[in-house]
């Protein structure tokens, strides 16, 4: 299966960039948890990266076309797991997201992104050439909607929306009419107030419950947004130095090792560090876009696009939120935030992207 010459087509630059981002992530997790009860979290992250590397290699070695053949199986498996989360999952931070396993907790929604990308890529590859018909889009929509609803029910709206971006990315690349895209956009704008009202109700509900029992949310979402911006701004051009940040170290930012890892990174490494990290992410994304272009077949291009859509959306949203410019949502920063499933699934995704690139000359 693995031909020796493929070895020379592995995208080593991409691997270096990914490694650098993982290293920065581990450093920031170490820094943000050095005081307090989670001080060994970075070790966990290192284990997760090790597992991720293994999974990465597996995803690289097996031909993506073989994997796509079995996409339905993966898809069904992940849907079962997502349903399992709702039935047997463990709760953390008010949401049911994990399936407890002997040594770790599995977060199926992270892997759902990969399975959806694989399934949609296969589906749009097999559908007609040119631009996908409404029927195609409807089927693609159903494929997406099942995991979307299951994840949204956890609730994990951030990840659910991330799954939607996969459909959007692949169908765009598959030649979806721009007019249709425009209609979808208008629909989204029209639907926003309705969704907003719905969200506002939830928000008010949580405000009231917080008011009655401050333990649920002692410091509110608005507070996090303000503190995130203060963290970033106070980092200045050069940063406060590794483990010298005050906002993250003194817990003004909640879960700084997770959702707000980039805020603390901005605080400790300053604008210079931010530019370096943004550069690394940009390189990874652009390199993946190039991979989509270089892909031997449409399946490869769609697969890369699907994985990349989810990744890019999460990176953009999380970094925007880190600067206090977006509402606080529990979306991790891929490669940097602590979280085993996230790191393993992300590395697996890049394994697939490199898989496509590596096999661009094969038949």
């Amino acid at each position: 299966m693995f031909e020796r010459r493929l070895f020379f087509h592995i995208d080593y630059l991409m691997i270096i960039a990914l490694g650098a981002l993982c290293a920065v992530g581990v450093m920031m997790i170490y820094s943000t948890t050095s005081i307090g009860p989670n001080s060994t979290l970075y070790v966990k992250q290192l284990y997760a990266i090790a597992i991720g590397v293994v999974v990465f290699v597996v995803c690289l070695v097996i031909d993506y076309r073989t994997l796509a053949e079995n996409s339905l199986m993966f898809y069904l498996a992940v849907v079962v797991l997502l349903a399992g989360v709702l039935l047997f999952g463990t709760t953390g931070g008010g949401a049911r997201r994990w399936i407890p396993l002997p040594f770790f907790a599995l977060q199926p929604s992270e892997f759902a992104k990969l399975c959806v990308a694989l399934t949609l890529a296969k589906f749009f590859d097999e559908s007609r050439r040119g631009s996908p018909s409404m029927t195609d889009l409807a089927v693609g929509g159903v494929i997406t909607l099942v995991p979307f609803l299951l994840i949204a029910k956890e609730p994990d709206l951030g990840t659910a929306i991330t799954v939607l971006t996969i459909l959007l990315g692949i169908s765009f690349l598959a030649g979806m009419r721009l007019r249709l895209l425009g209609i979808l956009l208008i629909l989204a704008i029209v639907a926003a107030p309705v969704a907003w009202r719905y969200a506002l109700k939830d928000y008010q509900k949580s405000r009231i419950s917080t008011f009655i029992d401050p333990e649920i949310d002692p410091r509110g979402a608005g507070y996090q947004q303000i503190q995130a911006r203060i963290s970033v701004g106070s980092g200045g051009p050069w940063g406060k130095g590794f483990t010298k940040g005050t906002q993250g170290q003194l817990r003004f930012l909640p879960v700084a090792w997770n959702d707000f890892v980039f805020s603390v990174y901005g605080e400790e490494q300053g604008f210079v560090g931010v530019v370096v990290a943004l550069g690394l992410y940009l390189f990874v994304i652009v390199r993946a876009l190039e991979t989509a272009r270089l892909a031997k077949d449409r399946l490869g291009a769609y697969l890369v696009m699907g994985i990349l859509s989810a990744f890019t959306f999460q990176v953009m949203y999380n970094i925007t939120m880190s600067a206090g410019l977006a509402p606080v949502k529990g979306l991790t920063l891929p490669l940097m935030s602590s979280g085993g499933s996230s790191i393993v699934a992300t590395l697996a995704g890049f394994g697939l992207i490199l898989n496509v690139r590596m096999r661009r000359f094969t038949n």
Partner: protein
């Protein structure tokens, strides 16, 4: 490597589809670049353009500057005994800046410390002008239970914006001793803030010695910068400027003499005032005004109820009678009249008057206090017996303006210059005074009342002490003062005695005659026998002043019998030759000078016992006398 220009298309066949895909990828390529540039610009804006602002906010987030209140200078008595010192107390304050919902904070805090919510709100409102990072003291001198309750809630992260600080607080003697002398401290008022350059929240002297010498006693507050976490818990100290304590001050007061004076008053249950000093220098040995208040209640932040109770009390405990009370001197004024008559050459000490118990002046009958009369009296005996007719007679001969001149020379009717705030002046009338102030001519008949210290004459107790010191000194007036030495940080430095307020050129014969009379008052057949101390040649004079004549008949309404009883005086110095202690005891409604002279003797006994190393006496008030028959005094005559 990053390029996606259509020109470097691969060797794959260019189909319609392929071109479309590449175009769309190129669009995405630009989109991603634009979004990343936008993100970088946002970070540039926050981290470079607005860096200073956010740096400051982050610093305020995790740094708190805690004021370290400087202990005020300790006050010692003239022998080094501690009079006023400091103790640690706890203050519970709110840092508004760290509260996200002041309403909730106030409600919760009021509940936790057991205070009325409205009053907490009022305190916060009063401090609305100060910066948000400055703690607003809600509970001064908190109890341990309150501190424990707040600490427990802080641990629960419920009240991170509430801080408990340990601050030095004034400790005054527990029994309100010398309260009017020490005064009290309190938080700086808004008026003082603008006038005197204090900082908001400073604790400054608000009355008495604390007020006059505030700059000396106050010290310089320190500060401690600490790092706190998001729960407001202190992580570590960044730096600390220790507070520097206020100057230690040694007062001229003698603790035991002060105590003896108050014991005397309390033995009788009298209100009143006493001022005892060293006539050679003006150093005050004892300074009393009663009733008093407990300055400790002010030190810990007085509550409104206590404050209004003090203000509305009919006995006026907040009034410092020694320097703010004006009273008729009664017979204690007679020495001034005698001095005027002798100095003006109108009489000699041998001039005699025959007292039949009353005499006619300007067509009106004036009575002597002794119904049957004293018989023939010379000046010395007239002082000894306090014969009113004698003084009516010489007063008429001298005239009010000459009396005014010599009484003023002895320190009456003018400020003493004591280093305590808000001293008032008494009044020794003159024809000019009546013309300018009342626009009336002086009636010669008024002089007759003035001659025995009644009528328009009024004095403050402190001016009577100066008067007695001047008589003891042969005419040299001293300025009463309270500071003996100050420790500027490098050992005690004596403070120069304030300049004498002047020496009147009294003839030695004048003083000799008056001294003889004063000695006879105590040691012969006079009215002040109660103050006699064998071997110490106490010289003094009693006085009784009618309240009714001063306050007027209108004041009768609503007054109890107690309020109408006469005021009693005893003025003294000792020993007769080379006096070293002089003073005045004024008992409000003390009926006559005898009880005042008993208090005076206790003061003198204590003073001399201490000086000679004997055990200090204890005060035993005499048993209350049998009710005496009411004596109706028809006119202004009074005094014993």
């Amino acid at each position: 490597m990053l390029g996606l220009a259509p020109s470097d298309l691969s060797s794959v066949t260019v189909s319609e589809d392929r071109r479309k895909l590449v175009t769309r990828l190129t669009v995405l390529w630009y989109l991603v670049i634009v979004m990343f540039v936008a993100l970088a610009m946002a970070f540039w804006y926050f981290q470079v353009v607005q860096y200073e602002k956010f740096r400051e906010v982050a610093e305020n987030n995790h740094q708190r500057t805690l004021g370290l209140r400087a202990p005020r200078g300790v006050m010692f008595d003239r022998h080094g005994k501690i009079l006023v010192e400091n103790r640690d107390s706890f203050v519970i304050s709110v840092v508004r800046e760290h509260s996200r919902d002041m309403d909730r904070t106030i409600r919760l805090l009021a509940q936790v410390v057991g205070l009325d919510e409205a009053s907490v709100r009022e305190v916060v409102r009063r401090h609305r002008g100060q910066p948000g990072y400055q703690p607003i003291p809600i509970v001064e001198d908190a109890t341990l239970a309150q501190v424990a309750a707040v600490t427990a809630h802080r641990l629960d992260t419920e009240l991170p914006e509430v801080v408990v600080e340990r601050v030095p607080t004034r400790r005054y003697p527990t029994d309100a001793m010398a309260a009017h002398l020490f005064g009290y401290v309190g938080e700086v008022t808004e008026g003082q803030l603008t006038r005197e350059g204090y900082r908001s929240g400073d604790v400054v002297g608000q009355a008495g010695f604390e007020k006059v010498y505030n700059k000396l006693l106050m010290g310089v507050d320190g500060a401690r910068r600490v790092v706190v976490n998001s729960l407001g818990r202190e992580i570590r100290t960044i730096d600390e400027v220790p507070p520097s304590e206020g100057r230690r001050v040694q007062l001229t007061i003698d603790y035991d003499v002060q105590r003896a004076t108050e014991e005397g008053f309390k033995g009788f249950g009298y209100a009143g005032a006493a001022v005892v000093l060293d006539p050679r220098t003006g150093e005050l040995l004892s300074y009393v005004s009663l009733p008093a208040y407990d300055p400790n209640t002010f030190a810990a932040g007085i509550d409104r109820a206590t404050w209004s109770a003090l203000n509305t009390d009919a006995l006026k405990p907040l009034q410092d009678r020694a320097i703010q009370g004006r009273y008729s001197p009664g017979s204690t004024f007679k020495m001034a009249v005698a001095a005027a008559a002798l100095e003006e050459g109108i009489i000699t000490p041998d001039f005699t008057v025959h007292c039949t118990g009353s005499a006619d002046f300007y067509g009106r009958l004036f009575h002597c206090w002794k119904l049957g009369g004293h018989g023939t009296m010379d000046l010395r005996h007239a002082i000894e017996q306090s014969c009113d007719v004698y003084f009516y007679t010489i007063g008429k001969m001298v005239g009010v303006d000459k009396i005014n001149k010599w009484a003023t020379a002895l320190g009456l009717g003018v400020k003493s210059g004591i280093d305590l705030p808000n001293e008032v002046t008494g009044l020794v009338p003159s024809t000019e005074w009546k013309r300018t102030k009342l626009h009336e001519n002086w009636y010669p008949g008024e002089t007759i009342s003035v001659a025995i210290g009644q009528g328009q004459v009024s004095v403050t107790p402190v001016s009577m002490a100066v008067y007695m010191a001047a008589l003891a000194n042969g005419g040299r007036r001293v300025t009463p003062h309270l500071v003996k030495a100050v420790d500027e940080g490098n050992g005690w430095k004596s403070v120069a005695t304030p300049e004498s307020a002047g020496t009147a050129p009294f003839k030695p014969e004048t003083m000799a005659a008056i001294h003889d009379g004063l000695w006879m008052v105590v040691n012969a057949a006079g009215t002040g026998g109660s103050a006699r101390m064998v071997g110490y040649d106490v010289s003094g004079k009693t006085g009784t002043a009618q309240v009714i004549s001063l306050e007027g008949a209108k004041a009768l309404k609503g007054r109890t019998d107690l309020d109408l009883r006469d005021n009693g005086w005893f003025v003294f110095f000792a020993p007769r030759d080379n006096p070293e202690i002089a003073g005045v005891v004024f008992t409000e409604h003390g009926e006559h000078g005898t009880n005042a002279s008993l208090i005076s003797r206790h003061i003198l006994e204590t003073y001399f016992a201490k000086k000679e190393g004997r055990p200090l006496p204890t005060f035993k008030p005499p048993p209350p006398p049998a009710p005496k028959p009411a004596v109706v005094v028809p006119t202004t005559g009074a005094g014993q």
